[in-house]
Subunit: 251 residues, 2 copies
């Protein structure tokens, strides 16, 4: 069972889109996959077709010790082998609610201890380095960093590396499996220049697959579908299938 956190505190870089679509591609290829939505916004939950406000329980209840992961688990409709742990708005209170709790960084790891039967577990992290993200970095064995080929996103990598280093006392085994460039448009010189800079600064961990800027990826979530169900022949579908193959090979 590979447990991978998709994290980057820079907002809007494609974390949710990557978790949903790599997850769906792996499930369609026969790998049992569990997606965990750690963001109070519930973008991943909504992208899979579920309204977080309609759900009685979510990940917050699991971190709070009131439910197990299998109590709140949803089988994603239309994609055999893909399950989801939904988020709820109450996750935005997690930092203040759990700040004083013993083992507050290990709540997710503990809950995950009873889960078996998956090939992959993916964490969709919120755009911050608060307690919920720290829980993900402690519970994960690997981290994959979606990054836009733009200035702010490149700067954000330094802060993220510092945070990963801070967590290494709690989780010495955590390794950065790779960086994946998103929203790539090779007509934009900015994208080409920053991509080359990332390749120079992070040789060996940049995924070959670049996710191209493709509006279908922004349309699919409003239908509650992954890109393979929404438009299987577009650039976004090709890129995420290629990335799923690359991740499956990289272990």
């Amino acid at each position: 069972m590979r447990i991978i956190a998709f994290a980057n505190q820079k907002g809007g870089v494609g974390k949710t889109t990557t978790v949903q679509n790599v997850g769906a591609a792996l499930a369609r290829a026969g790998r049992r996959t569990l997606l965990v939505d750690l963001d109070a916004q519930g973008s991943l939950t909504a992208s899979c077709g579920y309204d977080p406000d309609d759900l009685k329980m979510n990940l917050y209840d699991v971190l709070d010790g009131k439910a197990s992961l299998s109590d709140v688990k949803i089988e994603v409709e239309g994609v055999a082998g893909l399950d989801l742990i939904p988020a709820g708005m109450d996750l935005s209170q997690a930092d203040l609610a759990f700040a004083g709790r013993i083992g507050r960084e290990n709540l997710l790891k503990k809950a995950l201890g009873q889960v078996t039967g998956y090939d992959f577990v993916f964490f969709d992290c919120p755009p911050n380095l608060g307690l919920v993200t720290v829980n993900a970095l402690v519970a994960a064995d690997e981290i994959i960093i979606p990054v836009q080929a733009e200035y702010h996103a490149l700067r954000g990598l330094e802060l993220l590396q510092k945070s990963v280093a801070m967590v290494s006392d709690l989780n010495p085994a955590l390794a950065v499996t790779g960086l994946v460039v998103t929203f790539f448009d090779r007509r934009k010189s900015l994208n080409r220049e920053v991509y080359n800079e990332i390749r120079r600064n992070f040789p060996g961990i940049l995924f070959e697959t670049r996710i191209r800027d493709n509006v279908a990826l922004a349309e699919a979530p409003s239908f509650g579908k992954d890109i393979l169900a929404y438009r299987p022949t577009c650039a976004g579908a090709d890129d995420y299938e290629a990335l799923a193959r690359e991740i499956a090979r990289r272990s």
Copy 2:
């Protein structure tokens, strides 16, 4: 003195870009403007040409009570009348560091109490609803919400409205001055459709000015410049000057 928070917990919607460029446009039009960077990533600080790691003190020291706003203030080079309160990485610890402090939601409001001589004070909020953002919503009189014309950004507005309502006990005067659509590309039907949906759902508070998708806006930050200094004749410069005029009129 108008104190305006630019907030949206959805990441990557153009908060920092909007604060920097509206601030620069107002300063060039003779309005004394103070920009406050509340994001541990320090995107606004870097966009203005300063490396957060080089600075001895930042907003965290002010919230911590160890410095005043004027101790950490920087006069932005090249833009008369524009000052900056820089951010630092330690802001990502603010939730846990200040969780138990009395008046923890009022730290920024208190620090701002001694500040005079500005026409506008802008807060660039991080993409979350943690303690630092709550401090901004308590200290502000107005809130402006940058929003992309895409599905996830539209969904995020509901969570943000709930949070603004939650803060209204602490700051009953806080009003939403407006929503501004960013990254708008009228060739994309998704953008046109979501824009019309926002207009239907939020009549009267949607700014007339739409900020068009313009790569110059993503290039300027790497030179530490606002768009008017970097490329004064591009679509991004026109749109942000128009938005600055609209904001100045709307009080």
